[in-house]
Symmetry: C2
DNA sequence: CCACACTTACTTACTGGTTAGTAAGTCCCA
DNA sequence: TGGGACTTACTAACCAGTAAGTAAGTGTGG
């Protein structure tokens, strides 16, 4: 967790370790994104930073550990555009999801890495499967809570488990649209399609029209 | 194409070639499903049929060709429960999609293979990417046409491109739900969630409640 | 009806390539 | 002068694909 050394140091020049690790993480994200975890090699990652694969192992110990740090790195990047630091609730959450989709349309590499690793993670004993599983369950909880919040605001009583069903559908549609967009960017407008799909699910769940402002 | 010899032969015993190929295809589906294409080896596939990897190559020539036949095999299996042979249109199509989801809940292997290969296919130069891309575009066309058909039945005029947007969302939600279900079958009722999501999207698209009978 | 020609379904053995990981040494900066 | 950031050199494993051989059919001509 606490990696220390975050520009708080008085001395000017000491970017080496933390900085190099960050470079490697970015490179690994690109490599795992474009080739997958199994097919993307440490040699590929190392070459992008201009070192040998043994140099990468010096910093991360093993390929599995590197993957773990890449996933955490993605999480960090993912929320860094949120100044509030905290994930919003209620309708703000859905606006946030659409905004993220919009940003993602210009971050193909990260989207690809996420899609590839998520798909790969359903294989037996994949090192990322617990991360993806955990991620899904956290997201499910947050989105379901937001659905309940909006329902409360509108005085709608939801059947049992309905919020979770809606949350699952929202997560599913976002992942699925990313896949289609990656394979054929012309066929899908990522942000627009995401907004449309989330609105549809919320509207059907809450029984009254839900709109998400197109930023 | 024409593989000839389809039980029309008078002589009783000659299942060897065609039968062996089916065995290998089934094994390859399991292997690619549980390990992915790159990580699943010909040795793995061969072992499941009780031969060597060279024996597999004798039948399929190369690993890439084997993958292609696996994908076609999946298509064949996928529609074989349709007696009409033809994919239905209108509301029947959506009923068919839900029914398929229901069947899929008992065919984890095939779902896993599809999910893994679809995810892997977004990597650079993957041999399955054109298949997946083609599959998406065909599905998109068929589902969009079904949406238009239902809209016509209900005297609803759809904005331009709305049918395609709905189709994309339907495809996305199905793929996404499969992923979640594979990673945590307890958290998602595949058929139920699929029905819910498709109903939501159709309802929002057509402006009036759409129900799909739960078979 | 059977022997010879040919095909099919493999196996064994190998090649050339790639992989993650290790160990030991070198260079450079503080 | 000492420690971190590497490199070089290596290993052991695994991979797809090829080549050559074998054993068991299958078809056919006499």
């Amino acid at each position: 967790m606490s990696e220390a050394t975050e520009q708080a140091a008085p001395k000017a020049k000491r970017p080496t370790r933390a900085h190099r690790r960050e470079e490697i993480l970015a490179a690994a994200t690109r490599v795992f994104g474009s080739k997958g975890y199994h097919q993307g090699s440490l040699v590929d990652v190392a070459a992008q930073v201009g070192i040998t694969h043994a140099g990468v192992l010096h910093h991360f110990g093993s390929k599995d550990k590197l993957l773990w740090e890449v996933l955490e790195y993605r999480d960090r990047v993912d929320v860094q555009h949120l100044e509030g630091k905290h994930i919003p609730g209620g309708m703000d959450l859905f606006r946030h999801l659409v905004t993220t989709a919009q940003l993602n349309a210009d971050r193909r590499g990260i989207v690809q890495a996420y899609a590839v690793l998520t798909g790969e993670s359903v294989t037996d004993g994949h090192p990322a499967s617990s991360w993806v599983g955990h991620r899904f369950s956290v997201l499910r909880g947050e989105i379901a809570e937001a659905v309940r919040e909006v329902a409360r605001e509108r005085d709608v009583t939801l059947p049992d488990g309905e919020a979770e069903r809606a949350a699952n559908a929202v997560i599913a549609v976002m992942d699925g649209l990313q896949l289609q967009w990656l394979l054929d960017p012309e066929a899908v407008d990522l942000a627009e399609a995401t907004r449309f799909a989330i609105e549809s699910i919320l509207t059907a769940t809450l029984g009254s029209t839900v709109r998400i402002a197109s930023t």
